[in-house]
Structure formats: C-alpha cells, structure tokens
Symmetry: D3
C-alpha cells in the first residue's frame, strides 16, 4: 500500500480514509478548544490538529472511528503533522472497514499457525513438546492475533506469532550450521519466550500495559506459568527449570530485565535470534520509507541511530 | 565466646577444638602432598596448611570433623593462616559437639518463631494473612534453621528467621512514625521476601547454590510460589499481584536482580529495611572484632570499605 | 485542605484565592504579550496563562501577591494548566493572608523545637552535646522556619527541623534494636547534617541558591563551620573529626556529593535514615493526591518512577 | 582426539608427546632454578613446573620443541598444573611432528577456500566483487592459515577463514529470510571485516601483536587498505565508503573499538553475525569439555559466565 | 563589535543588518504560514519568527541573504527570540557585505600561515617534516579558511588554523618546561590531527557533515590519508605509524571516538593540549557575553555547566 | 644515578648499599621464618626475600636501616625480586647516609622557594596575595620538603613544592596565550590546591594517611583552612569563596573527589594544569626506565596503559 500516509512527504496534499487511533481535547493559545487526533492507516500514523473544534466534533471524532480526511502535510517541531482542510465520519456506503486500517503481519495467521504446528510436530523431546502444546492450546485464540509489543517492533496484528515463526526459521538454519544446538530446547524457548505478553498487554488494537504487566512484567509471569503448567501436566525433569531459565534470561542482561543472564547455550542463542529478528523488523520497515541516498529518522530502539540507505544494488 | 579464632591476632599461639569446614589436597613446590583445611568455630574461620600430609591424614581430617589443633597464627598474603604444630581428631571423651562450633543467631529459634506468630496474629487483611500462614506452615521445619545467605550477612543457623524478625521490628516502629504505611502489606512482604532462599540454597551447614538457584534465583522462584499458593487457597485479589511485586522488587534495581523497581510505597520501604538490617548485621559483627581506634578489614559487600571504630563513648 | 489546587483534576472549574509565586512576561505567537503565572496554595501549585496582558496586569500580578482567580483546569503537554477566566488582586476585606498559602510542616515549630531540646538534653558525651548546642543557639532564628530543600522533599516552612526531628525519632528506635549504635554520635550527626542549607539557600519563601551554595555546597560549608565551632569552644578530640566526617559523608557516595563515603557505623546509618525520611516524605505527599487504583505522576527524585496506590486496606 | 590434555582431570596420570609453547626460568623459594613450561596439544594446554632445572634442561626444553612427558595433573590455585615425573626431547624415531600438535580449524583450508571462491563468484556488483578479489589475491598465502585471534575464539590455524566461511553461511540463510538485505554488500563486508588481523598479529603459531597492531589496531588498518585498493583499482563509487564503514563499525560500539556504530542495514547484520559465530565457537568448544549436568569454567569473553550443560537430549 | 546581536538582552530593541543563516517554513496554530529565520552577525545568532509570511517573503528571505531587520528581543521557552517589526533585503547601496557577517578567527589567516610556516621550518626530523609539508601544500586553499567544527569551539572562518596555531604555541612552551618531549613529533601531530575535518565538513559557511564524515569520521579518514601520503613520498619508518597513532588517539578514549587511547607520550600531551585550547576558546567567548557577578548560559560541550564570572580583578 | 636499582634488569647481579623501607616477617612453606624486605635507592625500589631468617636478622634489618646487599635480580609473578646472596648492616666507616637514598625533586628546595616567592611578589590582588602569604608562612617548614603524594606522581622529598612550581610555570605561559585569565586567581589556586596534603599525609619519608586524611581528605580540610585564614586576616570578599571553590573543584568531577566541578574559568584551567604536570611527571620518569622500541610496564594511574618509546629522534 504505497499510497498510505507513511509514504507522503511534507508539502503533500492528502485525501483518504483513516482510522482515528486517539483523540484528545486541548485549548489553543487563543482560548478556543481543539482536537489532537492521531490518524492511521496500515502504512503509519500522523498527528492532526482540528482547530476550533465544536462539541459535535468531539463526539464524531473519537478513537476507533473511521474518517474521511483531506489536508496538507506540514512540519511541526521536526515531525510531520496533518493540517486538516476537511474531515467527516466514514459512512456505510463508503465501503471501508476498520480491519483494513490496522497494520497486520505480512503473512496470514493461518499460514503462521501451520508453520508453528509443523515445527512442534517435529520435536522429539516429549517433555518440551507437551509443555509447548499446552500453551499453544491455552492461548489458541490470542496467539494468532496478538502484537509482539506496543511499539518499536512487530507492533501489529499477529505480530507476536510472526516474530515467533521468523525466529524459528532462523533457529532451523543455525541448527544446520551448528549441530551441537539442542533444537527442541531452542524451539520451545522461542515459542514460549514472549507468551507472557498476552497478560502484559491489554489487547490487540491500541494495547496498553495491564497492572500485572506494570508491576511484574511478562518475564516473571511466564516463568510462573511454565511452573504451573508443568505441575498440571505432571512433568518432572530438568526441562522445566531450563525452559524457565530460557524465558527468564532472554533479555540478556539484568539491566534489560533478565535477573539471570543466559547460562545455557540455547538460552544465549535464543537471545541473539530475538535481537536479530527485532532489529531486522525495525530496520526493514523504517528503511522502506526512505529513498536511496537518504538517512532514516532517528530510531529510538536502535540507540537513536539514523540509518543510511545506499544508492547501489547487489 | 571472646576466646574463639576470630579474636586472635597474628603471632598468637592457638590451642583449641575446631570444626573442619573444608579440606583440599594440594602438592607443594617440593612435590609433597599437603592439606588445606578451613577450620572454624562460632567466632570465625581460618585457613590452615598441614604439610607433608599422609594418606591417613587425608582420611582423618575431612569436612564436618571436629579436631583438636595447636598452632601459631601467621600472616600469608595479607590474610591470617594457622601454622599447625599438632592436630588430632576429637574423641568422644573430649565432650565437644559439632553444634557448638556452628554459628547461630543470637536469639533462640523458639523465641523468634514466637515473635513471628504474634506479628501474623495481628494482621487484619485476611488475604495477606492467609498467604503468610500458608508459607509459614509449608516451611515450618526449615524456617527456624535456614541461614539468610552463604556469606556476607546472617550466614548462620536461623539467620533467615532472625533477619525477618529484625526487619519486622523496624517495620513496626516505622509504622508508628509514618501511619500511612499499610502495615499488613509490609509485614507480609518482609516475611515472604527471602523465603525463596530455601530453594536457592542447598541446606543449613555449608550451604551452596542449587541448580534452580543458579538458573532462576530466589526471587522468581518465590514469585511463582506465591502465585501457586494463591491459586491453591483460591485467593483472588490485588493482594496477590502486589505481594508478588513486593518480592520481585525487593533488591531495588534491575542491575541488583529486581526486574521491576519498587512501584508501591511498602515495596520501597521493604527494600530500605532490608538494606538497613543487612548492613547493621555486617557492620556490628565486623566492628566487634576490632579495637577502638582501629579500622576493620575491607568489607566486600559494603563497597569494599574499611570502617573506623571511634575511641570515644556516648 | 482537600479543596486546594493539588486536589483538582483536568476539566474542573476552580475559583479561589491563591498566592502568585512567580510571574514572567512572554509574547504569544500572535505577537501579543501574556503573563505566565505560577499560582500556589498549601496543597500545590499550577501554571496559568494570562493572555493579552496589559501593562497594568504586569504591575498587579507579581510574585508574593495574593489573587482571587477563577478558571478551568486544562491539560497542556501532559501537565495541568489553569485557563484563567478572571483574576483580581486580593483586598484587605477578603481576609486572606500570605501565611495561609505557604505550605508548612504538619507539626508546629514549637513542638519540634521542644522535641529537639529533649533529645539534646539526653546526650551524655559533653563534646558532642556542646557542639550541637552551639549550633542550635547560633541558628535559633532560622532553624525553626527553614525548608530542607527548594524542591522534592520537606520543601516548606519548618521543613528542615521537621526532617531532623523525624530522623531523630527513627534513630531512637534503631538504637533500641541495635544497641551497638553510639546514640550521641548519631543524634549529633542528624542534627547537624543539613544545617549548611541555611547558608546554601537564600531564605524561606521561594528559596534559591546563594553564590556560596552554588560554588561550595552545604556539605563543605558545614564541615568548615564545625571546625570553627570546635576551635571557638576549645574542644579537642576525635569527636570533631568524626562529626565532620558524618556531615561530609551523609550523601553516601562521591557522585552524590560526598567526597568520602561513610566510614563509621553511625555515618552509614545516618545516610540510610536520611534516605528513608526523604523518600517517605515524598511518597506520602505524592500518594495523597491520587486515588486507590491509580498511579502517581512520575517522581523525578525517585528515579522518575510512578507509584501505584493499591485498592485494599490493612 | 579425546585423549588430549584438554580431556584429563585433576588426579590423572598423563603420559604423552606435547609441544612446548613457552618456557620461562624462575627461582624457587628454596633458591633453586626451575622452568615453567606451557605444554600443548590440539585439545588444549597446561602449565608444568620442572623443579631443580639444570642449565641443560633450559637448553633442551624451549618453545616450539616437541617433548615426551609423564606426570600427574594437580590443582594449583584453582587451575590444573602438570607435576612432571619425567620429560625428554622427542626423537626423530618417535615419528611425531609439530603440525600434529597445533590446533586447526575442523574443515580443510582447501574446502574453505573453495566455498569462499563460490561465494565471490556469485556476487553481481562489480565494484564490490573486484575489491574482494583484490584482497583474496593479495593475501592468498596467509588467508588460508591465519588464526582469527590470539585467544577466545577461532584462535587456531585457518581460524580466520573458517570464521569467515561460517559467517557467510549464516548470511546466506538470513538473505533468504530477509530478502531486503543487499547480499553482495554483506558478503563483501564479511570477507573483509577481519583481514586487518593479518597485519595486527605477528603470525600463525603463537601469534602476538605487532607494533602497528598495538598502536592502530586491525580496524583502522583495514579501512586504510580498502581506500588504497580502491584507488589502485580505480573504483569510484559509494561502495568504497560503505565497505570502509562496514569494517569500521563491525565491533558495534565506540567502547568496543568502532568509532562509528553501524549506520547501514548490512553493517548492523554483519555485527550480529560476527557475534553469533564467535559466541557459538567459544561455547561449543568449551561445553565439549564438560559432562552433562556440569558447569563450564568461567569464560572471560562471555562476560565471565559459567555455562550449564543440561542432562536431557532433543 | 560589542553592538552585535550577541550583546543584547531580552527587552532590547534591535535594528541592524544581519545575515540569514537558515529559513524554514511553518504553519502557525491559526493556519497561516510563517518563516523561522536564523539571523546572525559575527557576535552570535538569534531565531526570529516572521508571522503571516507571504510567498514573496519566502523568496526574499533565504539562507545567505543579507537583511535589514528591526525588532524586539523576547524570551521564548528560555531562549532569546527576535520579534520582527520590519524586515527587508539589503541593497547594494547599503554597503554591507556577507563577509562582514561571518565570524572569523581573531588573527588574520596570513599571520597564522606565517606562524605555521616558521614552526615547520624549525622541524629537524625529515620524515615528519616532509609529511607535514605534503599536507600543508595539499590543503593550501582550504587550510586558511576552514572552521574547526560546526559548533562548540572554533566554529568560524579560519577556526581550524587558528586552533592549530594556538596549540603549537602551547606545545612550544611545554617543550621548554618538559625537555623530554619530542618536539617534531608533537608539532606534526598537532598540525595533522584535525585535517580530516576538511573531508568531514562540507565547507566553510554553514558547514554540514558529508556522507564520508557521517559514516567514517575525520579520524579514520586522516589515518588513511597519512598512510597514502607516506607511500607517495616513499617514506618508510616508525614515524608513519606513530603519526597515524597520534591522529587516531587524539580524542583520548574509545567512547570519545579514538579506538586506541594515547600510548606514546606526545600523543597524550597532544590530547591534553587539544582539550585546553578547545575549552579556553569556548570559555573565553561565552564569558565575554556576561557581566562580572553573573553566570553564563549552560554550555553543552562543557558538561552542561554554567560558569561564574567573578567580580574582582587581578 | 644510572646505576641504581631502577636501571637493572632481570638476571643482573646487584651489589650496593640500599635503604630498608619496610620489613615484614613471614613463614615459608617449609615452616621456616623469612623476611620480606623492601629495599630502595633514589632510582626505585625492589622486594627481596631473606630466607631462613634468624631472630638476629629481624633485629638488624628493619625499616630506615641502611644495608649492604649482594644478590641477583629474578622475576617472580611478573615483578622483579632480589634474591639475596649476602646482606649486612651499613657501618659508619662505609660513609653512606640515609639522605642519599631518598628520592628528591630534581631541583633544590631553595631554588623552588625562590621561584615561589617571586611569583607571589608579582601578585597584585591584595586579598589573594595575603591569603597565599599566610599559608606559605604557616607551612614554611613542611612546604619545602613534603611529597605531593604517597605514590604515582611527585611522591618524593620536595615533590609538593616542585609540582606547584611546575604548575606555576605552565600557568604563566598560558596567561601569555590567553590574556583573559585572572593570573592572580590562578596562581593562588595553584599554590593552595594541595596544601591540605600536609595534614592528609603523615610525613615525608614513607608517608601514610592520617585519620583526618582518611575520613575527610585534603580537599575539605584545605577549604576549611582557607575559611579560617580569611577570618583571621579579616578578609571579606568574593576572593575567599572563589579560592575555596578552586581548591574544592580541582579534581574536576564528583567521582574524583570534587563535590563541585569547576565553575570558574581559572578553576577549570587549574584542573587541566594539574592533570598535565602529574601526567608528564609520571610519563617522563617511567619512560626513562625503558629503551627506545620498548613498552613501559602498565601504569595504574594512567588507566593501566603501557606506553611505547619511539626509536626516532627530533
């Protein structure tokens, strides 16, 4: 969708349907109320100001509402901002649907689920396989649709599953190159490492952090869940502790949220695969928005670096 | 017991019963075997070299054996070392017992348990009280005797319970000074905060770290235990999450092992009380070994500082 | 005073007397002058914009003036801001006084002074007692009214004395629990530790930093004062150096302003008591402004954390 | 070679041929000279003391000499040490060769070179391909045999080429998973990234750092070489600067020796692939020396961690 | 030029010619376009807003245009801002020239060049002297006019040469005080240390970073240039490596951009002289703008410190 | 004195008079007592072991005793050690004196004092001059002989004064290059900055830290002394506070012992001059002990770097 908001530049006129992600009331320096809208389509989002907003405007333009908007893209304090010329609610006759405006993983959830099932089917260690199956079943509804995060990487519908499957693909290739890897352990660790996000994040569209998410975080919550699952499945064995360790250590360092660093080979490689897939996801999506010879905007989760897109090809 | 090994100086002769804590075989630069013994009584421990050790010596002088030793205290690379003049196994007729050579908390475990019971009895919030009672019952055998650590502070028999009771005493006084504190929550957090040590450490005398202790640590293990206990007790309510947060955050910072910092008033105060009691325990025991006008040895767990003991009184 | 500005929310109308703490002139994007006022009562403060300000407005609404203001509380860049509907100077007939709008310690300065006198009376070490008495006498006018800081904790009238007395109360309880503490030394350290603030800060209402405060800081200034006092009182003895060390080290670490870390037991405990009282003061006052189930605003001096207020009671 | 020195434990007798890597003279506490020998075979190395060494011993047992040694493995200050019972120079009739005692990459240099040639053949961008060919030709003698480092990872004959080929294999798989990657750029970066080591290290057996290596380091030296090569080949184009950037940034951060962090997608992925291959090489070789259920020795280049080898299989 | 923009205060009227350094279009909250101009003279620069800008305004007021402007200096978010009352393009009849509005070094470039020539003439080591001469010749056009940076210190015409000559003067005096210094090596290092800036920065007026500057930085570029120059001049000898090391290490630490720290006496002293001259340049120019008894604005490149100007004289 | 111990290498025989700096008794692994002696002359010091020491040996060879020693220089754990062949007390007839074995500054104390007096005579600001004179008079006996430190730099007789005079020489040259410097303030700051060392260190030969030195440090002690001196001299004026600030801030950063960083131009330059002179003193003395083409030993106070001495001349 190369004609979405993410592909427009400052100075462009813009005329399209968009989804209101957030609407906040403010008062301008002239004393009149205005609305700050965050408008999105699958290519990105933009802030827009609706000046001199009436009480009716406030009712019409709220979060999760589709709108038809026309305006011009300006720059404000170094960020794009849409100056609204006109705006109206979308009508049934417009034939647009909310689902078309929410970013999704580039692969269907059915295909991702199929790939996940294959991988699990290939596992040979029964303890690991049973624990993994338990969780895939437990979260069968959410797993196909949850995002992997609220921002930065894979922050879209099916993002979590897409991230897991990408990591499994890398893991499979690394197993070929380094046969010492315990494949089942690595696969199980990858599949479970971020499942705690389903308790940490409030939902799929516009997710926020739950109270448990804020006070405990997805890592300790998932460590606890694995312990309980093993008890329920009556699995006793080192696999349980090692799997808990894989989840616990996958952020790599205490200051990044892992009270123990990786102390098992597969835990170390899980951490590295997670890094690669998260970084490639961020880099590819951000570089897609600039032209060869340009630098991207600064990327907060990449140490605030701005990346260059070379002008030559393979 | 001012006449124990901890109160002797370099140059002193020493002639007493001691407990062998560890015995390691080595080969001297002249090619002859020797034994490195760690000998202890309740006042401290010292390394000793038994040169030209025979195979019989190796059998006689092993860990957990009581011995009668005579020797001279020398200095070696800045640490005290006992030069053995003579050594023999203790005999039944000597009338000495292993228990007399292991350091214990300065208060009886019965008295500590009594104080703990009183405190729990005073709690009014039924959810918190029930969870606390569940764990005191579950660990009734170990709780009275476990150490709080393998070294640094409260590393002796009943050290964990003594630490908990000292913290509860501080908490009670702070509640008087700052009535906004939720006393039940603070008490419950103090009682549970280190119970995971009973799974992290292998036992009471000469404890080491278990596999779970090394790969997971006492904090996530205890968070998991609280979750399971609440399920078993069918307690639903914010108390469970907040208690888990109290345990999770009690080291204060991510780099000190708490993936979340304290985000509840009582979690912050729990962290501070833990600091005070651990530091006072270390300082008082270390300062007891030096005379007024002297500096202590460097204390690793106090940022490697060496403390001064003033020469004047109150 | 639950109806002060600190207890209102965005959207509320507000109509009350307030004290102008600061007034700054600006020019709006339409080229017209405006005033940015900081208005306060004992519950907190709020920024307010007076648009299209006339030269008369500038004269009427200056720092330390009481005003009657009516307006609506809006949100601007994530902070509350008062949109002024009307504003006028307070009149003698309004019956309001500046003193009623400045925050004070929750305990009377006479009562605090009484408590301080008792504590000093109990001291037995004559050198420590004489030095402490010297300073209480020297600063008898300021000690009862000075704030402990310009912001963060105890930043109100009598804040310094209130902080000292709270710390003395904690110290007394800790002495009971850890009898090894030299009570007189700890008391003297607590009483003197922050007295340098009376030279570091310019005064009581709206304090700023003096030139000495900026270039030297309250810690070295107080170390110097103790040295001079000892000379004047002809006190010779280790107490002088140790007291200077208590003040010097009370921030705990070089990077926090203490060129030497605590190297005496009572210096370490003084640092910890200071931490507890400062943190409890900040936490209690900030948590008082949110409802159960809410998080506070981010607290800069608490590592920018936002604290949660649980929904359950003791 | 499971019967090499790397597979013996403390207490074992050992009787085999070994290569002297270093020999240093010392004087024992009894005033007699001794030799400290570092003895190695392809499985590892061990320190050995030859007490009461004669001047003849000093002549016989020097670096790069093969010896027949019999002795017992002891522990000294936590490290293994060989107590020599007898030692003699190897004789021609013993039929042993130095080359059999130097560790080599697990794949032949011819096979590695073949794989490298294939990869270069597949490159399409002529500028990148020509620069890469230039260097492979320039270093054709050393490239097949140089180690990648003096210690930690790939520190053996052909280690550099083996590391490069492993990285190319990973790169190829990642290109399949993330087609946005510019394969030629990534390949060229991988092939060149560590070639400066051939100027930084003094040679193949027992390499040390050259003066240039110590004062400049392999990274700036290789950046310079690429610039000169491009001039010689009369290549003008962004490829040259980007390739220099790939080499410059491949350590990832300034504090790790890269004055610029990766600012191009392929530079970031090069850094990550380098990390993975170095870590897997270290982990696999270290874990090969312990049994399931054991922890490895502390690994300095892995943040001093000790890794656990689980007891269960796939 | 004490009457430049750098010497005016908030509230002052200002009426003078200025150079437009940058002009950016924006849209005000009332929907109308405006121009943000950065206006400068040799004493400093100021931001100015031209509200309700017409398309003609946009054409007239662009970068590198001289203008006559009248307005009032206001404060906006803590920074000075010029409120424009009137503005027009400068006319030929106004008799003003762009060169008069660009800050220059306080010493003529001819004089600086003369001093540099003298110093080089005094060098005795032929290898060092030839390399230095090579570069002075190569960059003879740029060397006299380039700035030393885009901001912070010596960021004006001839700034680089002025910085080099100041450093040479300090070096000469230190050689007198510490005769062990190798003067020729230190001189050569000073002259070459920042020459890479001529490739890193795009030009003289309003310089920005080149692609090479962003991806490689001036340090590795200059190291490469020295290597090539030595090759061209057929100089072989340790001088080349040491000179490259001087340039490479002159930022002092890896985290400041030097992959190797100074490892040669003259490299260490070069780093210190660079620090002194950069800091004195910043301090003297910033302090010149405040009166005795005042603090300067915060200086970002001096760890964000604000410096005090004492009220007393020598 | 190129034939001192500092100029000998491992393997050399050594036969000369030396001063015993320290003597410690130990017990060898064969159970016999030995003495560890630290022997010194003006070129350096070396550790020596006297095996099988008799009680008479202990009496003869104590600190501050001159001895005639013959032996061989060996290497032990990477450091030189003297293996004693024979040793005896020096006799009156040997004609050697303790003073000849203590390192001194390379310039006479009378010459240094003369230079200091000149500088003070040149000062024009009466307040600064009077304070400086007060201290030079107060410490007239110690100032000429004290070391500047116990190790690292200027750690010899008259080291403090030599350091001060070197710094004054640099200051004078910098004043010529940067006339904005307030010379009197800088001179006064240099002269006073380290005078607190005379209370921090116990004496001239083999100095240790005093109790005040350990608990307060030379910086706060000197700040206090300046305050008292000003009071005694009845000097009121900003000079006093600024001078105290100069001393307080001269270590540059809080973590290096300065609770306030330099906030006055002359304080910043004082810090830089201190750095230069300390570093040049360490570098010159350490480099004097190696030959061209060699690296020095690691220098702890230079971030543990090992410096290279180039092989070419000016």
């Amino acid at each position: 969708m190369k004609n979405g908001i993410g592909y427009h530049n400052v100075g462009d006129l813009f005329d399209s349907f968009m989804l209101v992600k957030a609407a906040t009331k403010g008062v301008a320096s002239n004393g009149k109320p205005f609305l700050t809208l965050v408008l999105s389509d699958t290519s990105g989002e933009i802030e827009a100001k609706l000046w001199d907003a009436t009480p009716e405007d406030e009712e019409l333009f709220h979060a999760e509402q589709l709108v038809k908007v026309m305006g011009e893209i300006n720059q404000f304090r170094g960020r794009s901002q849409l100056k609204i010329h006109s705006i109206r609610q979308a009508q049934p006759t417009d034939g647009v649907q909310v689902a078309d405006f929410i970013e999704k993983a580039p692969v269907d959830k059915e295909e991702l689920m199929g790939r996940l099932t294959e991988i699990i089917f290939d596992m040979k260690n029964p303890n690991l396989q049973r624990i993994v199956r338990y969780f895939v079943k437990k979260y069968q509804d959410e797993l196909g649709v949850y995002p992997a995060a609220t921002k930065n990487h894979h922050e879209y519908v099916s993002g979590l599953l897409y991230h897991v499957v990408s990591m499994l693909n890398i893991a499979k290739e690394l197993k070929n190159l380094y046969p010492e890897i315990n494949k089942d352990l690595l696969y199980a660790g990858i599949i479970l490492h971020d499942l705690g996000k389903m308790k940490e994040l409030s939902g799929i569209s516009a997710p926020t952090y739950t109270l448990e998410g804020k006070l405990l975080g997805h890592i300790p919550m998932m460590v606890e869940e694995i312990g309980r699952a093993a008890e329920e499945l009556q699995i006793i064995g080192e696999e349980v502790t090692i799997l808990q360790h894989m989840v616990l250590s996958h952020h790599g360092k205490a200051e990044w949220g892992s009270p123990k660093p990786p102390l098992v080979r597969e835990a170390e490689i899980l951490h590295l695969i997670d890094l690669i897939d998260a970084k490639m996801n961020m880099l590819n999506r951000t570089l897609a928005k600039v032209k060869p010879g340009e630098f991207t905007e600064r990327m907060f989760a990449m140490d605030n670096r701005s990346f260059y897109k070379p002008t030559f090809d393979e």
